[in-house]
Symmetry: none
Subunit: 238 residues, 2 copies
């Protein structure tokens, strides 16, 4: 008869505190219970509690201060988003007014033969979901983005409405897919005819190209994105 492995005591404390922080029971700036209070509550030694707190500190959820306590920290921003920031003074006041327009709603296609990134056999077999969006500041196009993902186990993805108009919110909420990392490459290139047209620029004008491969918590599943930006009045933060 094999004994059921019990979870380590420090992990119990760690998970309890993490859940409480993420669910908002402790808010940013709040003090967690002191180490001694946690010892009493869980009936364990202080070094064990400290192990849990030390890990939460590494995760970036809390910050500890000698003499004071463990303070809940502002959570780091998410890796998957490119944010558009006003560069010229005029545009700084307009940051919030960026609209997203679909030039191509999600469709299922074969992968392009000369696709930039190498693809696994599983990805090729699953075919490709493709979408094309453009972000506008008023009447002015700022960024054109093409997105590709393999149709692995994504039931009805092309038919469902996006949550919050966001690809990534939809992936996490409906499919439990979270972005865990990114490789991103940047270039400044002269606008070709297609880009000049999409972004209302002259041919040859500088365009910022961002090529990204996002890794996820699902093994072998990636999101590929190619973005082209007019950075006359905006910068791209990544």
């Amino acid at each position: 008869m094999k004994k059921l492995k019990e979870t380590a005591r420090y992990l119990t404390v760690q998970k309890d505190l993490r859940r409480s922080i993420i669910e908002g029971k402790y808010k940013v700036g709040d003090l967690l219970p002191s180490e001694n209070e946690l010892c009493s509550k869980y009936g364990i030694a202080r070094m064990t509690v400290r192990n849990a707190l030390s890990n939460l500190e590494s995760e970036g959820l809390i910050e500890r201060q000698k003499g004071k306590g463990s303070i809940v920290k502002l959570k780091r921003k998410s890796i998957e988003l490119l944010s558009i920031k006003g560069f010229t003074e005029i545009m700084k006041s307009r940051e919030s007014k960026i609209d997203t327009v679909f030039l191509q709603k999600p469709v299922l296609l074969d992968w392009e033969d000369d696709f930039y990134w190498p693809l696994s056999e599983a990805e090729i077999a699953a075919k490709c979901i493709y979408l094309k969006r453009i972000r506008m500041s008023g009447e002015k196009p700022i960024m054109m983005e093409k997105t590709y993902l393999s149709n692995m186990d994504l039931a009805n993805f092309c038919k469902e409405e996006f949550i919050n108009k966001s690809l990534f919110d939809t992936l996490i909420v409906n499919h439990d897919i979270e972005m865990t990392g990114v490789v991103q490459k940047f270039r400044a290139i002269p606008a070709n005819a297609e880009l000049a047209d999409s972004l209302q620029l002259n041919i040859g004008a500088p365009v910022l190209e961002i090529i990204r491969k996002l890794t996820t918590n699902r093994e072998g599943f990636f999101v590929y994105s190619f973005a082209y930006c007019n950075t006359d009045d905006f910068t791209i933060e990544a």
Copy 2:
């Protein structure tokens, strides 16, 4: 009479090991001495050694495996580095041949009046260490980078030689300063006269501008960097 503060024992071990790893005494995949060996060597308790190792693990320098030991890890894609990758096929084979040349070795100056980022009073009072480097692929300039940091508690920084020719290796090994985060902005801009000259481009040619503010483990201390890249043959990975 004030007693001289002695450094914590775990910090001694931590610094020794970190220096050895960064300087290449232990290579990627190597096992560090076991915890017990380190205890004997330094004459300290095992939990103290474990504190040091745990911190190196958080930093991403090592990985620990139960039953085996502490293994030197592949250096994390560290946030502070911009890596230059060959874009055209010809250049992919030349990746390793990027040289760094100083156009300006570190000097102590006043901060520029119209500096891009807002500065704290402490930073202004400490004055500014400025350096300018250019990265070459053979005879061809790829990236020009200007770096600014405040001269806070950085004894002799302008006089010391760089470790591994690297600003960031020098900061961590000699001053215990680690980069913990980054805000980076990207733009594609037309080359002005200065850039055209530095990067051997025509005026108006597309140049990738990367503006970065790096946060560190030292409160209120930042590293500012402005990089300008010719991305005809290379991409910048960040």
